[in-house]
């Protein structure tokens, strides 16, 4: 399996990365080399193997349903680029 430059461009767009033509070319090469490495796995018969969701053989710990977070919005908003009426402000997004 290998990726075309167009596909890499699409992936970059989805990740909101702006790549120059040169970067696109070198990234395509790099990604294909990584995929080539992973491709060795295709030689193994994995039919009876359950896909792994996590490398640790442990299960998720569950938390009791208790509220113990305090309102720290003032602190958090000190690092926001823009705030107003207690809201985080972003350039207008309208459907």
């Amino acid at each position: 399996m290998s990726l075309t430059q167009d596909q890499v461009g699409q992936i970059a767009y989805l990740a909101r990365l702006s790549l120059s033509d040169e970067q696109l070319e070198s990234n395509t090469k790099d990604l294909n080399s990584i995929l080539g490495l992973a491709e060795q796995l295709a030689d193994i018969d994995t039919d009876d193997i359950e896909p792994m969701a996590h490398p640790l053989h442990m299960s998720q710990r569950l938390r009791e349903d208790v509220v113990n977070e305090q309102d720290q919005s003032e602190l958090f908003q000190t690092i926001a680029p823009k705030i107003g009426n207690k809201h985080y402000l972003v350039p207008t997004v309208i459907e």
Binding site: A53, H54, V93
Partner: protein, 476 residues
């Protein structure tokens, strides 16, 4: 051409937990903007999501209630997309290993019943809220809702009309409230429906291209939006065009659906298992515990109303269609087990009519279940007749007091004094010789005339049963 409509619904039910699905921030509605968005909800670096046990518990409850397979091992994934109200750049959801697998639920439309398949139900976190009209050049983001637990319930494309879709949505709506996992408040967005709608020529197996309708926040709008969309698709195809797969927004004000965003390009979410969360293992013990604590389900309650109380199918169906209605009815029953049918008639008749007329929900009924229960008791023990009871009901509604107080104050107590009624009956018989003749010559119907006269003379207070007996014995 004859078209067949095919509908599948995706319902987002907000699980009624105190804290969020992955953080210990409060989920309370209507608080000051961003006051309940903690570091985890904001996706600040270095935070770790920890799953809320109660959210898992409630999802399982739903699965059990629709007879679904519970996946005792399930996995959280990241669904990647960019939007300002999604701080992390991904939503934690479940893709390949959802907590609830295939199940089913029965719906009724008129006399017909139909089984609708539930494909799956998975846990996920809600996004924040964008406010577009607060500032001219900015969208304002409130992240209080970010991280609120949702159960997304996906149906099979089993519904064939807007009516069926509404019946299914209402059924799920009632169910989540019965089992106490969601408050069902559609205005506050605790229960939201998206509809996948497509059409195909009648008899064709292959599904048509579907459009996904979003932003539907009432059952009425659900029906309207689907019908609009079916019409739109028919027009397109009959004009030789093709339906494109897209997301469409329902606009209740303009009563139209319109294309929402060119979501096609962005519709690549690149799901992968969330490395911050380990697979969830649900032990047999936890599953058994939840099973044993599951409250009576609507269908079980309905069966009990039919079998134990002798109600008919229709009555039992209506009374169990909403948890609040069933609760009301059951409180009434406490003092009136032998008058179940009478209780049912009053709830579905006089009470429902008055509530509808005044557009009041049963939870806010001016006549409480206890009030109505006492009224039924007074009909049952012959203190008042059913007819007088309607006046008493109205007085209770208007806040004039309890049934007993009103009966006393207005002197509505039924006449059960045989002697007094007898005197009136004698007088009526003496004054209406022609009608007496008619009765004697076999005109049974004329009895109604005498009953009417006696009721008139007693302002409706004569005990009907006693009166009938006396009339019959005197006349024959």
């Amino acid at each position: 051409m004859q078209w067949e409509t095919v509908i599948g619904l995706e319902i987002h039910a907000q699980l009624s937990t105190k804290s969020k699905i992955f953080s210990a921030a409060s989920t309370k509605f209507g608080q000051e903007p961003n006051s309940q968005a903690c570091a985890v909800d904001l996706g600040l670096p270095g935070v770790l999501p920890v799953l809320n046990k109660e959210a898992v518990d409630k999802a399982i409850r739903f699965g059990l209630a629709v007879n679904a397979h519970i996946n005792q091992r399930n996995v959280f994934d990241r669904k990647n997309y960019f939007y300002p109200d999604l701080p992390k750049g991904y939503q934690i959801s479940q893709l390949d290993w959802p907590i609830v697998g295939e199940g089913e639920i029965e719906i009724s439309i008129g006399d017909e019943t139909k089984i609708i398949g539930v494909t799956r139900a998975h846990l996920e976190e809600d996004a924040g809220k964008s406010v577009h009209d607060m500032f001219d050049d900015y969208s304002a983001i409130d992240l209080n809702r970010a991280g609120t637990p949702l159960l997304e319930i996906v149906s099979e494309p089993d519904m064939r009309s807007a009516k069926e879709a509404v019946a299914y949505a209402k059924k799920i709506h009632a169910l989540v409230q019965y089992i106490g996992i969601c408050d069902g408040n559609m205005q506050e967005g605790s229960f939201r429906c998206d509809a996948n709608v497509s059409i195909r020529p009648m008899g064709q197996e292959k599904l048509g291209t579907r459009a996904e309708l979003k932003n539907i926040n009432s059952f009425k709008f659900l029906e309207k939006a689907i019908n609009l969309e079916v019409e739109r698709q028919q027009d397109i195809i009959e004009d030789g065009g093709e339906v494109v797969q897209e997301t469409r927004l329902y606009d209740a004000v303009k009563n139209e659906t319109r294309s929402m965003r060119s979501k096609e390009e962005a519709n690549d979410y690149r799901y992968f298992p969330d490395p911050d969360l380990l697979p969830v293992e649900i032990s047999d013990e936890m599953l058994e515990n939840i099973k044993s604590e599951l409250p009576e389900l609507p269908q079980e309650k309905k069966a009990r109303f039919i079998n134990d109380l002798g109600l008919n199918d229709y009555d039992a169906d209506v009374l169990t269609s909403q948890k609040s209605l069933a609760d009301y009815f059951e409180i009434m029953l406490e003092g009136n087990t032998s008058n179940a049918k009478l209780c049912a008639n009053w709830v579905m008749g006089e009470l429902s009519a008055s509530l509808n007329k005044n557009q009041i929900e049963i939870d806010n009924s001016p006549v409480s279940a206890q009030d109505l229960s006492l009224l039924i008791t007074r009909i049952g023990d012959d203190t008042i007749s059913g007819k007088i009871a309607k006046d008493v009901f109205k007085a209770i509604w208007d806040g004039e007091g309890s049934a007993d107080e009103i009966i006393d104050a207005k002197g509505l107590k039924q006449m059960t004094d045989t002697g007094a009624i007898e005197a009136i009956v004698d007088e009526i018989i003496a004054n209406n010789a022609p009608q007496v003749e008619q009765f004697k010559s076999g005109n049974e119907k004329i009895l109604g005339f005498f009953v009417g006269q006696a009721m008139k003379a007693t302002q409706g207070k004569a005990n009907p049963k006693l009166l009938n007996e006396l009339l019959r014995s005197k006349l024959s």
